[in-house]
């Protein structure tokens, strides 16, 4: 399961990420073990915006496609 598959109204936990991801992602607060939620997306579902650690972080879909997450829980 990857971050890009997270549906609205569900939360998941970010899993251990591959080393190739930009470290800035971590430094902005999106890191393994944190709860994450889809906030909204732009036309064509790209980019997407997620809520993590109280911050809204938006990223392009290709990045969200390689961030592994746990099975989503309905809120």
């Amino acid at each position: 399961m990857f971050l890009s598959d997270l549906p609205f109204g569900h939360t998941a936990i970010v899993l251990q990420t591959p080393d190739s991801l930009p470290v800035k992602l971590f430094e902005m607060g999106c890191m393994p073990g944190e709860e994450i939620e889809l906030a909204f997306y732009a036309p064509f579902q790209d980019p997407m915006c997620f809520k993590v650690q109280g911050t809204l972080i938006s990223m392009r879909r290709d990045l969200a496609q390689i961030i592994p997450i746990t099975e989503p829980d309905a809120r």
Partner: protein, 670 residues
Amino acid sequence: MPDKKALRIALVGRPNTGKSSLFNRLTGLNQKVGNYPGVTMERTTGLAKWAPGVLAEVIDLPGVYSLHASSTDEEVVMDALLQEAPEERIDRVIGLADGTNLKTCLFVFSQVLDLGIPAVLAVTMRDEMERRGMELKTEELSETLGCAVILVNTRTGDGLDALREAVLRAEPSPKLPFFQPGGLHLRWLAQVQEDQSMAMPYRAWLWGLKESQKPHSTTLQQPPQRARTDEAIQRYRQVNQWLRDFFEADPVKDRRWTARLDRVVVHPVWGSFILFGLLFLLFQGLFYGSEAPMNFIDDQLAALSTWLTSVGPPGFLMHLVSKGVLPGIAGVLMFIPQIALLFGFISLLEESGYMARVVFIMDRFMRPFGLSGKSVVPMVSGTACAIPAIMSTRNMENSRERFLAIAVTPLITCSARLPVYALLIGLVIPNSSFLGMNFRGVVLLALYALGFVAALAGSAILNRWMPAKKTPAFLLEMPPYRWPQGRNVITSVWNRTKSFVTEAGKIILAISILLWFLASFGPNKAPDFTQERAPLAIEESYIGHAGKAIEPIMAPLGFDWKVSVAVVSSFVAREVFVGTMATLYSVDDEDNATIRAQMAREVDPRTGQPYFTLAVGVSILLFYAFAMQCMSTFAVVARETQSYRFAIIQFLVLGLLAYGVAWVAYALLS
């Protein structure tokens, strides 16, 4: 020149923490906008007297999420903080933290503390914290961090005196370090410290990790994997502990407004409508809102010119002032209403938190052209005028994207092209319609579309062709919505306008006087300044000679010497074409219809037919669509890129492009 005794204080924090509000509060309007060395990024500093004998030089560093360099922003901040030379060294840091979003802010601040620079933490958004039932135990946090923690309110100014006092008293934190590299990382760090003889471990850590990213770094051993990642994990663990101990929030009251607004504002459908509505408003505002003040400035300068010629007899000096200096001043002042309006608008978008959403919504559309959503603003404002549009690229953080936007914005159909288009379309396009569409209207619309297509295509080509540096990942925080602060909007408008007048203004005035000289003097005949009329017939002047000299070059485009002269003199501004044509065809008033009638009578000596055929007209139209004939644009590009080379190359490339397109069109149509 910065005072040597001034205490250098840097503001460091994430974006959207109220950094510029605090900066404006601390310095007032006494700000200086410049550039960081080597990068096209704005650097704002302000001087203020904080205590008897204490002068503070406050430096507003770009907002960053970490001190490690992911983009130019962080590089600028890191370079500033790592400076060792006494006159460049940062003496104090004010760390900014948004009280409603402390976690990620404390992350950066703990990095700053580890550098050993005396620092104070300023917690902003105090009013919002209270409204949302948040409480921070500042004394306990201050104890743990080993530095003062001050709650401030940038709207009312509460807490600012305490902040100033704390900054003056600040010492390096005794609680260092907040981050301990382990195992392999520690061994690597020790090596860097020894090689570079750096006493402060975290300085060596930051410096070493930055150097090792450079492609040909041979002096340095590569750091072990996951250095920055491990640091982030360790720091966040610590920050979370602090928040558990010292921070309480009522989760129910949290962030409701932003989430509610975002349901509409970034909705895939409604969001786009709102965005296009706002951009339309911007276009209308720039076009019509600036009309009255521009006319006013124009009228005043015309009155001044008339008054001048009435007080003294015509002469060299009089002519220089009325035809060289005054038009130059007009060329500077005329742009002020548009620049002020545009920057007021942009500042409102940035302050309210909407600008990040613009980037978000437009990202997918602009991506193929190497641009981000931010370039929508210069593209749209370019339809009014390229000057404010190019200045508005200052708000772009990515310098590669900014370069692209500056390079292609002059292609967008600006309002100065309209008089030229109107004259030529009226001359060569029949006033008839097909399927209810007026040909003249269609041609004008096509020229507008051509401007956008050319700009986007140009950007895509440049993007492909430019050496690809590692572009930073698209990661953008959506700030919560906030009411804009009037103080910040006014400061932004003031700074931009001031820097345009004092910097680009000088270049515009100089070019204007140079062009006056070229139009008033000639190689063979001495100018006569004692008459009311022009001192020299235009064909006798240097510009006239230049026009005739390039006539053979322009012949493949179908330009005769008169058109060539008009093209050369249009470098002042495109609309000068109309005035020059009027002079060359000895039409007294600059009324469009009169000039057009006169031009329509012009006969091509070779064919005996009217000279201004469809081919010639379209050729001139296309030439004006592409060529960068505007001294003010040239000046602003030189100023914004800090490079005359860039401006000259842009001028030449766009000129060649114009030449090529006009040539092809003329060849096809004639």
